[in-house]
């Protein structure tokens, strides 16, 4: 028996002939092809950030910038760099905290309701904004804030110029973001709470723990890993060059120039520069800056979490 097992162990370790592996490579081919095409082939394009790019000579033919970091210099010497970096950080931290706190509160409340019909209906309603695009939300916001016909101006009876006063948008942007995303995260945390073993609660009840104590000492500590993973993913999205959820910052303010100071983030800046200025070098430089900051932030926060709570770290 033991000899048989030993043989089996060797069988697994033995090299699998390529003929046997071949069908898998055929199946992997399209997926790998598109991943290479979309994520790896653009990478040499990062060189553009250091070049005086012109379309005729192409990426490799164009001359190097002199000095090498001139594209970056132009961006960092302007006030825009400070504004958009500040805005990106501010909104993302604010939104992450708001959404997480509200979603956890809602999910705990949802979990208290035992009626299946009512919870399904409530979940359905708060999930609705998640499925709407930012463009549709832009329309909704416009129906509320339009200067002459909007509901808000009708209600207060004054003509507030919502679309030309940056200050309002410091509040509107996070609110809109919470509105769209809080349902998604609530349902996510409901799933996490549902996964908690009910024995804990029964034991706590036997010992006379109040509802509040149960939440504080059972629910919150047990969903902590989920919260940490989601926050790390959030930090990653923060500076991920077009992958993040930055559409809101471009669409909601109707691209109104007066609001740029309060609503512009790095992504919208890159996007707008590419579309209007056509300055490839500077835009690529800003994009590279964003990717690098994102990378540092993800590794940095993962490192901090590893120190505090080694089990929760992502990698």
């Amino acid at each position: 028996m033991s000899r048989f097992k030993k043989n089996q162990g060797q069988m697994v370790k033995r090299k699998v002939p390529f003929k046997r592996q071949f069908p898998f490579y055929v199946m992997m081919m399209p997926g790998l092809f598109f991943i290479t095409l979309l994520f790896y082939l653009p990478m040499p394009g990062i060189l553009i950030a250091f070049k005086n790019f012109n379309p005729i000579d192409g990426i490799f033919g164009s001359e190097w910038m002199d000095p090498l970091f001139k594209n970056f210099e132009f961006f960092f010497k302007s006030d825009t760099a400070k504004t958009i970096t500040f805005n990106t950080l501010l909104y993302n931290v604010l939104e992450a905290v708001l959404v997480t706190v509200i979603a956890i509160a809602l999910s705990i409340m949802l979990n208290e309701l035992k009626g299946k019909v009512s919870t399904t209906v409530y979940k359905g309603a708060i999930l609705l904004p998640t499925f709407l695009s930012w463009i549709v939300i832009q329309y909704i916001l416009f129906s509320l804030l339009s200067i002459d016909k909007g509901i808000f101006n009708n209600l207060i009876g004054r003509e507030v110029q919502w679309y030309s006063e940056p200050f309002y948008w410091r509040i509107i942007m996070p609110l809109a973001y919470v509105w769209k995303n809080v349902g998604y995260y609530s349902v996510l945390y409901v799933a996490a709470i549902a996964g908690i073993n009910t024995d804990y609660y029964e034991a706590a009840q036997l010992d006379g723990a109040t509802k509040w104590q149960q939440i504080r000492h059972i629910t919150l500590p047990l969903i902590k890993p989920t919260v940490i993973v989601l926050s790390l993913l959030w930090v990653g999205k923060l500076f991920s060059g077009g992958l993040g959820d930055w559409n809101a910052f471009y669409t909601l303010p109707n691209n109104a120039g007066a609001l740029y100071g309060a609503t512009d983030v790095i992504d919208t800046y890159v996007y707008r520069s590419l579309r209007t200025l056509g300055d490839y070098g500077m835009t690529a430089a800003v994009g590279l800056y964003q990717s690098l900051v994102g990378l540092i932030l993800v590794f940095g926060s993962n490192h901090v979490i590893k120190k505090i709570d080694p089990d929760s770290a992502l990698f």
Binding site: M28, I35, P42, P225, R275
Partner: protein, 296 residues
């Protein structure tokens, strides 16, 4: 925990909170619906209201008869969403499945290759140059599909549920002389249908709601997607609102825009399929959440 639900103060408070939240989430969309069914002259006179002061379906008639661009945009969006989602699920699914098979000796190296771009990628400008200058995909419908066809995160999620398929099932298929392709298509795929459906849902919503790709790569009006059409309509108004009073040409600009109601009707048409499929969406959405993101 298991005793019959009692009516307590805290329960009533929670119900009230959620009923208010429901209103906050649903009313804004109903407002747009209300505007789309309001008579045009009433809109100009009374402003926007949740319940139309003068009911009219004129906006929808205008959209369906006068402006063919909406219908064409619908066709483009549906095509992109369906083809894109199917390709995404098929290609990423095959890749994820193979990465779970032990026969593939290089699977760890390949996995690393797949996940690396999550941490660092070229960014918008290099991708734009690749698409337009090297692949010459500007102004084609394929670019709309191509940019979202691959996702490392989805490979990771799918890998997790392919792993849960019993190995014995796959083994027995092989002993019976089933080719690897057939094993995948007739055993593995049908078994993971619910999970694939929920991932497909995320992908489909992303395709449906995407406007940025269209605004970057598409110039011919023929290929505009629904969301982009909406966005460009709104941009024109946004410009007017931001410069209210300052521009002399405002009057003429307004004449060239489709009517308020028609714009809102287009918006409702863009949301329509999502609302129509909503019960289905919610079910698979919740299922999908528990597959990938919740760490035990």
């Amino acid at each position: 925990m298991r005793e019959k639900q009692k009516i307590t103060v805290s329960n009533v408070v929670i119900h009230i909170i959620f009923i208010l939240l429901m209103l906050v989430c649903i009313l804004p969309l109903l407002l747009v619906l209300g505007i789309s069914f309001t008579d045009e002259t009433s809109l100009l006179r009374d402003g926007y209201h949740l319940i139309p002061k003068v009911f009219s379906t004129g906006a929808y008639q205008y959209v369906f008869t006068g402006a063919t661009s909406v219908l064409r945009a619908y066709a483009v969006t549906i095509f992109v969403t369906v083809v894109g989602t199917l390709c995404h699920i098929l290609f990423m699914g095959m890749l994820a499945y193979c990465l779970t098979r032990e026969e593939v000796t290089a699977r760890n190296k390949i996995s690393l290759f797949v996940y690396l771009p999550v941490l660092f990628n070229g960014g918008l400008v290099p991708t734009y140059i690749l698409m337009t200058r090297f692949l010459h995909l500007k102004d084609t419908v394929w670019v709309l599909i191509l940019v979202s066809i691959a996702s490392a995160t989805n490979v990771l999620i799918m890998k997790n549920f392919f792993k849960s398929i019993p190995q014995a099932l796959i083994e027995s298929a092989r002993i019976d002389g089933c080719s690897e392709y057939r094993t995948f298509f007739s055993i593995v795929l049908p078994l993971s249908k619910p999970s694939l459906a929920s991932i497909g849902l995320f992908v489909a919503i992303a395709y449906w709601n995407d406007w940025m790709t269209c605004s970057l790569y598409i110039e011919t009006p023929k290929l505009q997607t629904l969301q982009y059409l909406l966005q460009s309509l709104m941009n024109n108004i946004g410009y007017l609102q931001a410069n209210a009073g300052a521009s002399q040409s405002m009057e003429t600009a307004i004449l060239n825009l489709p009517s308020e109601g028609a714009r809102m009707a287009t918006c409702i048409l863009a949301v329509g399929p999502i609302i129509f499929l909503y019960p289905f969406l919610q079910k698979y959405f919740e299922k999908g959440l528990t597959i990938g993101a919740v760490k035990e």
